[in-house]
Subunit: 340 residues, 4 copies
């Protein structure tokens, strides 16, 4: 990974040069083009390029010659209609390219979104930087609600796992679910952070030992080093990597719907949040429709829908009468803002 100072100069040069274009253009994106938006302790998201805007979605939906009507009101209505009825192909007509620096374990989740183009920095050919992610106390706390939810999960991994999990969580959260007991004490958190930092440094030192190289020089001029592609395997997955990532708006929104969600791991969610802000600048109408219909919306099963019909009709109904499982009932009441 290039030296950051050089990078900064190049970014300035790129930002200064402007060219006239006839293409769809989004001033709010031009403002942030090439700028590294910081994420986590050393990561970033940089907008590199984009194609299309809200008008391009409308244009594709109309498949007409020009840009369609310029009245925002009707574009907005059409975009909301498309989002509501899952007419997803027009949203594929916009494309975005990001440069992202992210921990390897985040990259491993991210890459599962297959409909995207990726070029990653290669540890086979290049030396990886001494840059690793260390969570702060907030990052550590974030997980607790999640941990509690996991205890509620169905038996994904067999009964044994479930029993062990229950015991494990019992050990962690002795008394009440909302209690401060769940949190690592400040001392425990500090100790975890200290250990992660120290061991990450140690791992990088081992990496250099195996390569027999430090700061571009052999450590022992008379010795040989291991191939880079092999030495790198001692680095843990909190080390940063970087890539160019390009995808279309439809698939990006799908990414956000899964990764900006509260079930997503905190470390990928913070990237999704930064990207969501970019999308809001880029295609405000599409983003608004997405926020309303997908992120803020709900999916109901046939059974849940029938329960709601009865509730709306004024019927009193208990979980047992509902036909829903305890978990489903609780989730539904939660969404309806009812205490039960």
């Amino acid at each position: 990974m290039a030296d950051e100072r050089d990078g900064q100069d190049e970014i300035e040069a790129l930002r200064e040069a402007q060219y006239p274009t006839r293409r769809a253009n989004v001033p709010a994106l031009e403002d942030i083009l090439y700028t590294a938006l910081p994420v986590l302790d050393r990561g970033f998201v940089r907008l590199i390029d984009y194609m299309g805007d809200d008008g391009a979605v409308v244009q594709a939906a109309r498949v007409s010659y020009g840009k369609g009507t310029t009245q925002v009101s009707s574009d907005r209505g059409l975009i909301r209609y498309l989002m509501r009825h899952r007419h997803t192909t027009p949203f594929e007509m916009c494309e975005i390219k990001l440069h992202v620096k992210l921990p390897i374990f985040v990259a491993r989740q991210w890459i599962r979104h297959r409909t995207a183009n990726v070029n990653e920095y290669s540890g086979r050919y290049s030396i990886l930087s001494r840059e690793f992610y260390v969570p702060d106390e907030k990052g550590i706390d974030t997980r607790l609600a999640k941990l509690r939810e996991d205890a509620d999960q169905p038996d994904l991994l067999g009964d044994e796992w479930r029993q062990r999990e229950a015991q494990h969580l019992a050990a962690q959260s002795r008394t009440n679910k909302q209690g401060r007991d769940d949190r690592l004490s400040p001392e425990e958190a500090a100790e975890a952070i200290r250990l992660i930092r120290a061991e990450s440094r140690r791992a990088y030192t081992n990496y250099e030992k195996l390569l027999n190289e430090h700061a571009g020089e052999p450590i022992d001029p008379n010795a040989k080093g291991l191939a880079r592609e092999l030495a790198r395997m001692v680095l843990p997955t909190n080390f940063y990597t970087e890539w160019y990532w390009k995808t279309d708006l439809h698939n990006l929104l799908h990414f956000l719907s899964l990764r900006a969600d509260r079930h997503a791991q905190y470390e990928i969610r913070v990237y999704a949040d930064v990207i969501a802000d970019i999308v809001k600048r880029w295609v405000p109408l599409s983003y608004e429709a997405f926020a309303d219909y997908v992120m803020g919306g709900a999916r109901l099963s046939a059974l849940e829908l029938s329960v709601i019909k009865r509730l709306v009709a004024g019927e009193k109904i208990t979980q047992k009468e509902s036909g829903l499982s305890v978990r489903e009932w609780r989730e539904l009441m939660d969404r309806l803002g009812r205490e039960e």
Copy 2:
């Protein structure tokens, strides 16, 4: 396209031969393997092969060594959990291969599902059969509700189109929406059917003229014919083609969610219905969860959800107070089974 009689013999031979396998096996599918299930007047769906079953979904979700617990109850719970929370990858672990005979205009919609493998009968190299789709009266009637819905559609194609559409529909449905007036009269329907049939025959005759070939013989032994790849272009899109189509269960369910839907064109919906029956035999637990959470379920926007909260709380609320558009309000009341 092979002669049907020969085809029938070969199918019998295939159905008689049985081999021992250690793979996941579904007797209910073995029963219908290779059998042509009729669709429309001359089309069919034939199950050619399949991989996996409900257990394979569970197995992938557990990523454990074996088949997981054999207790159906827990498999069912896990599959419902996966469906409810859109954990779609385990459903990709099942695969199905179908042989389908379908009109070209249906094939043109179907092929839009990109995550599938397709081998289509080639009109470049082979002579197309004299087989075309002619709707019956039911096929013609089916569309009327649809036509009425279209009139409600937002302005997909500009104001001009909308105005013309309104006039056009007015001409068609003079008085009341539910009236028999909407329907083509039996005479009109019969005339449409007659015209489609006669012109399809004529088109095939022209195709043969261009090829200078009929029943495998030159029509005029002293003349030359047009290349097949060119001659075929005079055949209308109600002519049948056929293909092998292979996809995974997740993408198949997505196909069904769009094509077995009432907004889908009748001619593709009847294929989706036959395939849905195959899926029900194949993976009954996955199909049940799909029917409950996707087909029978509903997606609500943030605004719709807030309206439902107020209704459940016993509040009286009108469309104007709701913040929903007239169309959205009507759709929501419809789903709640309320007259408004």
Copy 3:
């Protein structure tokens, strides 16, 4: 499909408006942006938008901060290296969007390229135009070499087909392979053209009859029309459709390698040729490498390679000694420019 005159005005308006951008910009593409490049008798390709340039390929390959070195020489070397060694992902970092008007039978081949985004003009909701493709004499002649090649094809469709094909071709090409006899006589060609044109017109008249609509007015004000989605099926596949089509550079080059090839049908090849010209303007270095390594290159089998080794070593060798089949031997000698 919108009225062409209106379209022209909108295109002019789009071409006049220019905005400053910091994105990668290609003046040679800006020049042709939105302009309809004619293909066949009524089709076109219109460049709507693009993302990236040769520099973006290099940038992705380097995954560095900036644009990399500006020295063309080294960029060229890197791009050639990537192409030669099939490092395809950097070429995915460029994206292009085209508006294409094309006959349905061409669209049916084109859509097989699945890694692309498509929005097609919908015959379900809109009236299709009275526009159809009629080949000229050149279009008809083009096929003859192809027809002869087909006779050489292995037995794709069973022995019966092959025998019939042989007889059919014999009827067509009596004497010598290069002879004028292969060609339809001017009279035959004129007759084929006349028939295609007349029958296409007739089909459109039938379409209007079924719709009960002509020039936006009901033909019989007291009668009802068939749904558009159904009436359209009487139109043959030489009728034009149009779509927005968006893909990345890697997949576009793959498209060209198959569709600009002499084995491709003439009617899609002419589209591929126009697109190849656009690519040449867009990414001249990538195009040059593609032309050299892919389009102008050759793939040799292990056996062919061993034969070449022996030939280079000065050995005399016959087809029989080579181990190659007659067909493979002929293809190889052809590529080596040897008569045999």
Copy 4:
């Protein structure tokens, strides 16, 4: 990851159960179904399921009713024709599902093949096993040829990188290119292995510390542990993960063409080699064609082809006269088995 002993019992149970099927069946694959084929020190490939055989490729190519002719000779010819002319879609009609245990850094390369279905063991919800990859001396030696090749690579990462690389390699390979000097001495290799093993153990101990869990019990019953999804990030990428991986034959062959290649990293190549053996059992005709046309074949550029033409014609020609770069010339002579 489940206990291996239990796994073994389940595998035996799976292998014993047999069912009658009408589907395409491959006895040579049934023989190895569910059996773990060892790779590296602790990895494996296990065949879980398959769909289709060589006949299914032929069947799709013919799109006929039945299985086509049973004469192997004609099937072989057709399959070779399809492979030679890149008619890839029939090869997509076969599907395979594997259970693979592999180091994380191998998984990171593997996952780049996007056209596949994957379910990976989750370190978010489950405890990762204390299993990591340690190369043996062969694994370490393997890379040396590769290292030398890298020095020849074009300037992928800028001049600075190249200079440093050159110096680095100079330090490694002092004298002659073929010399034993390139290799790590047995002592150096042993030291590298020792360090990797010790540090991997240490990393796992740290993982357990962060989790506050060992062998299913809290280490300190009064303390709390870090969330699994966070603790896992201290494990290096030589730790094993496992997944179910499903893909079609065409994409599998593409995977092999890149990963069974000598440019691939040794640790993924050994997996590709085991999979190649499975493919050979599964579809012997397709594999033979693939081995001949793709793996054993060569791609020549237009310029290389013209040089070969001149050589075959008996012309004497030097690198300078050829128009090829030094690198290209050397690569070509290498393929022609000529010393230069």
